[in-house]
Amino acid sequence: MDVGSHHPGGLLSLLRQGLTIGVQFGTQSLEALLWVAQSIEEGIYADGSLRRTPDGIAFELDNPILRVGAFSDLSLRVNGTQVPGDRVRLRSGEGTEWRLGSSIRRDAPWELRPGDRSEFEVQGSFGHDTDPITVRIELRTPAIPPVVWFEFTEKPVQEGAAR
């Protein structure tokens, strides 16, 4: 998986901070913090699931985006451009019904619990072939209003190609 560009300054800063944590609190702490970071990093986006479809792109999530809840708003951006809700459809997995992103409302929320999978299909033209694509999803629940977001960048595979 293409992990996108890592800024050298950022990596050096990370290294310094990692060393600081290790020196002050011990390497066990550093290791344990990495367990959490990796669990989040690898627990949400279904690795390698981004693919091109005849109408656009599709991808899968293995978990809610950090938070569970009944979400009343969904916003999706591809390569920085907002995709209208009627061009996004999603479902909980094979055998469940698709619904449009625009159908998600306070009185018709999208409910997510720990471990709930989601499949997304997005209509549109997003770059070419295996150009990396950045997808950002934003969700909001009335119970805790601050937006929860998730973003990944990956080279898509062509529909039907093996992951």
Partner: protein, 722 residues
């Protein structure tokens, strides 16, 4: 067999390192509304790690099969655990569930008896989905795990988190994702794991199946293996040890009697018992209290601070001191933006690993107060060099966030800083756009929330008192800054149109939102007596006060939403603030009504007190069923405001100025720990009887100046006439 209705209240079983969550219907299943959806929080927690999802047991005999809840006849709490009685197909079953502390886990046993018929083969099927992630990551269940069978035990690992299953009966079959698994090693997706145990149950003999699920940190499992086998072989000692420690703790707590308010007396006992359930020593040398159940079961610095006030009043000075040390251990000494840490800052959350994060605007400010409080309650020893250095670093952290011109401390932007720090580092990114991290951390209260300023003022005062005089006159500087902050609260936050205080100041302009947080200024004694009463009475109006407690935001505010966590929901801690402020203002009946609102909870919620309720009706919403915030401030108000106690065991001095309702005729406290002694108080409208058992004399001031009370001799002090 039809199943009786499950109890409405959750069953929570805890040891210092583990927890079992269940609904009382027969399995470890606990469906709870959370953020508007239903999540099953049943299962096992160990070392602040959610080990499993719901842990279910089913039974199979021949062609017949049943789940355990379908066979339930009755259930009851027992010493150290929970017991249910079941009947099915000629079997009588007794199930016992308990959280044990020797190993961080939960033991579950089923005793089968067959009173008639012939000996029969029975299969117990135990199933669960592994989680293996700290509870702080509420929304995720990892998909990929490593499994390994070892003798008759099973171990599951997800990165450095792990669990083990050990039983007294060898399994006959393992099912992985509903397919037979021969055992050995497996790495991949695990949605469900089932273990089958064969039993031969002869007539007139009891046969036991027992299983223990334990873990948390994978590295701690191996050293606990022998102990775990001992526990599953004979769990009664481990269960008894947890119960014994609880009983010892409760027996040492003060006894409060309110003959004119038996419900309040009962609520005090329930609150003490609930507070004890939050005690935690989950590993890695950490000591404290977890914030709540089900989904805040880690040590949160802010929540712990609110709880430690109550821990001091119930006399557990040692636990308070060790808890403070646990938090100070993770004081940041340098800038760590990826964790949100600044020099001197204390952690928002700590759990075994150790795993910790910073990034709140208030956690650090509580601890100078707590160090001072510990000293006043216990009488000493005075803080050593390490605590004093930590204290100076806390204040320096606060000074770094303070506008020198106004004396106001800045809150907000903490989560944004973490997000910026990690922007280019991860292969995927996730975050929550919280602009602010005050106690109401899901709403925007930038830049200078009023309660943060009150806390800063109190923190500076406590720190100055602790360091005393020093060559560089730091305490003078802190006192001067405290005075400037206090003056700013009085002058810049006064909202005359509402008879209240503004919620914050942003960009130099006051934020006209009506929240309960302003009441903290009343409790700190920062307002003049007339305005104090005005503020308290304004808070009592029905846009902020409901019959079930205080809203986090006035219902007349355009931003009000009855289901918004911090913009409309009713919080028990806010109700405790209102009681506190009303009693300070001399509004005894109003304070009493607020306290009654909380007290009623314990009865209706089977000993628990929910975190929050909808703003438009008396129904929990997005609420932990037990939160330290809902328990501890209630306890503290009983001691500090209703009884009006102020302690300073260094002097030693006890001040007593009760604010009981006018109709009360008597009240008493026994076993109140004070320094190295204990004091008993017996109140009537005419006098206070003080019985002191401790070294030397105790100075007691009931409003007419200190009077020396000798140890061992009850002393009657008349109330001064005004």
């Amino acid at each position: 067999m039809s199943s009786p209705s499950p109890p409405k209240s959750p069953v929570l079983l805890t040891s210092l390192s583990s927890a079992a969550l269940l609904d009382g219907a027969g399995d470890l299943s606990l469906p709870r509304e959370m953020r508007g959806t239903t999540v099953d929080w049943g299962g096992v927690m160990g070392q602040c790690v959610r080990l499993t999802g719901p842990w279910r047991v089913s039974l199979r005999s021949g062609e017949r099969e049943t789940t355990l809840p379908e066979t339930l006849v009755s259930a009851e709490r027992i010493r150290g655990g929970w017991r249910s009685h079941h009947r099915w197909g000629g079997y009588d079953l007794v199930q016992t569930i308990a959280a044990v502390g020797e190993v961080p886990g939960v033991v579950r046993s089923l005793d089968f008896a067959r009173t008639e018929g012939t000996s029969a083969d029975l299969t117990v099927v135990s199933s669960f989905a592994p989680f293996l992630l700290p509870v702080l990551v509420e929304g995720l269940r990892p998909c990929s795990f490593q499994l390994q069978t070892e003798a008759d035990d099973l171990r599951i690992r997800q990165r450095g988190f792990g669990l083990a299953v050990t039983s007294n009966v060898a399994p006959s079959e393992l099912l992985l994702n509903r397919a037979s698994w021969i055992g050995g090693k497996y790495r991949g997706r695990v949605d469900e794991l089932a273990i089958e145990y064969p039993l031969d149950v002869p007539v007139a003999r009891t046969v036991a199946w027992r299983s223990l699920i334990y873990g948390g940190l994978e590295r701690d499992i191996e050293p606990a293996t022998a102990l775990a086998r001992g526990v599953v072989g004979e769990p009664s000692a481990a269960i008894g040890a947890v119960a014994g420690a609880d009983e010892h703790w409760l027996a040492a707590a003060p006894v409060l009697r309110f003959p004119d308010a038996p419900a309040l007396e009962g609520a005090y006992r329930s609150a003490c018992a609930a507070l004890r359930r939050l005690y935690s020593s989950p590993g890695d040398g950490l000591v404290g209290l977890v914030a709540g159940y089900p989904w805040y079961s880690a040590i949160w610095g802010r929540d712990l601070a609110w709880m430690l006030w109550a821990v001091l009043w119930v006399g557990d000075f040692e636990w308070a001191s060790r808890s403070i040390d646990s938090v100070l251990r993770f004081q940041s000494r340098s800038r760590v933006p990826i964790l949100g840490g600044e020099p001197g800052e204390l952690a928002m959350q700590v759990s075994p690993g150790p795993i910790f994060f910073y990034g709140t605007s208030d956690t650090t400010l509580y601890y100078p107060l707590l160090i001072d409080g510990l000293l006043r309650h216990s009488g000493g020893p005075a803080p050593g060099p390490d605590r004093l250095r930590a204290l100076r670093d806390m204040i320096a952290w606060g000074e770094g966030r303070t506008d020198p011109a106004t004396g106001l401390l800045r809150n907000g932007g903490e989560a944004e800083e973490i997000s910026t720090a990690t922007a280019s580092l991860a292969r995927v990114r996730a975050g929550i756009n919280s602009p602010d991290t005050t106690i109401w951390d899901s709403t925007d209260r930038r830049d200078h929330a009023v309660d943060i300023q009150v806390l800063w003022y109190r923190s500076l005062r406590a720190a100055a008192s602790l360091v005393g005089t020093s060559p560089d006159h730091e305490s003078d500087r802190w006192c001067a800054l405290a005075d400037r902050t206090a003056e700013a609260i009085r002058s810049r936050y006064r909202w005359d149109e509402e008879g209240y205080l503004y919620d914050s100041i942003r960009g130099g302009a006051p934020v006209g939102q009506l929240r309960p947080n302003a009441l903290r200024a009343v409790s700190a004694g920062l307002l003049d007596p007339a305005f104090t009463k005005t503020v308290v009475r304004r808070a009592a109006r029905d846009d902020l006060t409901t019959s079930w407690g205080l809203r986090t935001l006035s219902s007349s505010d355009p931003k009000y939403d009855p289901v918004a966590y911090h913009d409309g929901e009713v919080w028990t801690i806010a109700t405790a603030w209102a009681a506190d402020a009303a009693l300070v203002a001399g509004e005894a009946d109003l304070g009493w009504r607020y306290l009654s609102t909380i007290a009623d909870r314990y009865d209706r919620e089977a000993g628990w007190a929910n975190e929050c309720y909808r703003g438009d009706r008396d129904a929990p919403f997005d609420s932990c069923f037990l939160l330290g915030f809902s328990v501890a401030p209630f306890l503290t108000v009983l001691f500090e405001r209703l009884w009006g106690l102020y302690v300073d065991a260094r002097l030693p001095l006890l001040r007593v100025s009760p604010r009981f309702p006018a109709s009360w005729r008597s009240a008493s406290i026994d076993r109140l720990r004070f320094g190295h002694g204990v004091v008993a108080l017996d109140w009537t409208p005419a006098r206070l009887r003080v019985t002191w058992e401790g070294p030397g004399d105790l100075a007691v001031d009931v409003g007419a100046g200190p009077v020396a009370v000798a140890s061992g001799t009850p002393c009657d002090l008349p109330w001064p006439t005004s």
